[in-house]
Symmetry: C2
Subunit: 116 residues, 2 copies
DNA sequence: ATATTACATGAGTATATAGTTATATAGAAA
DNA sequence: TTTCTATATAACTATATACTCATGTAATAT
């Protein structure tokens, strides 16, 4: 396995890592319908301002979201809508893994707001 | 945001977490062309036996891989081929994020073996 | 029965990460 | 300038995670 491959795996792993946190998924979900400022995201997510701010920074570092400063506010938005495809795939797999009947399965999927 | 939604986000985050480790991606990549036993995966990944064994357990707990014991050997295989779709999506996004020219971009993508 | 091979796991360490609290900074308004 | 609002960040704590080394266990071979 080459050094270059190792770097690729590290790169991909970091990307998944950015998505591997409930609060960050919640934030991304909150951005589904367009940009929001930090205060709005704090309300939506139910987290503290400091914590949300840190998560936003992590998401931005991973290029999942963009930041635009207007006045005293900072507006964040999704960089690439394809992340929702990722979430859809994962939701589909998780749902199909659940050993519950089809109706309950359907109910579970409908609770997943991380979709387009 | 309801309690149920919170559970969903936790669930999805755990799934991504399982994919957020270079060694585990390497192992999954090693399983692309079918089942392999632990010793084979140790060789492919370049990790220690103990460490690979632990990662295999994590991947199994996350239902990404299955285990079948035959004789003294344990054969692992991919549970759901759709994980490669995930990796493809991520690779595509990472590649398109890279601020390098198209040729280098292509070269990078070709090094990513986490594809079907 | 003993040895060997293949794998899993416990103990311990080091590092990373998420969270809180308090504080810093920056723009807008008074 | 001072104040207020919005956001970022530093310091700290708690927890999780990856890794190594040593050991346990289970199937096979001698």
């Amino acid at each position: 396995m080459s050094q270059l491959d190792d770097q690729a795996f590290i790169h991909i792993a970091k990307y998944f890592q950015a998505l591997a946190e409930p609060m960050r998924l919640k934030i991304l979900n909150g951005l589904r319908d367009g940009e929001k400022n930090v205060t709005e995201l704090v309300e939506i997510s139910g987290g503290t301002q400091a914590n949300v701010s840190k998560h936003l920074n992590i998401l931005k570092s991973s290029r999942l979201i963009k930041r635009e400063s207007r006045g005293t506010k900072a507006y964040y938005s999704i960089s690439d809508q394809r992340i929702y495809e990722l979430c859809n795939l994962v939701c589909g797999q998780i749902a199909s893994q659940m050993s519950i009947d089809a109706a309950a399965n359907e109910a579970f999927i409908s609770t997943l707001q991380v979709t387009q």
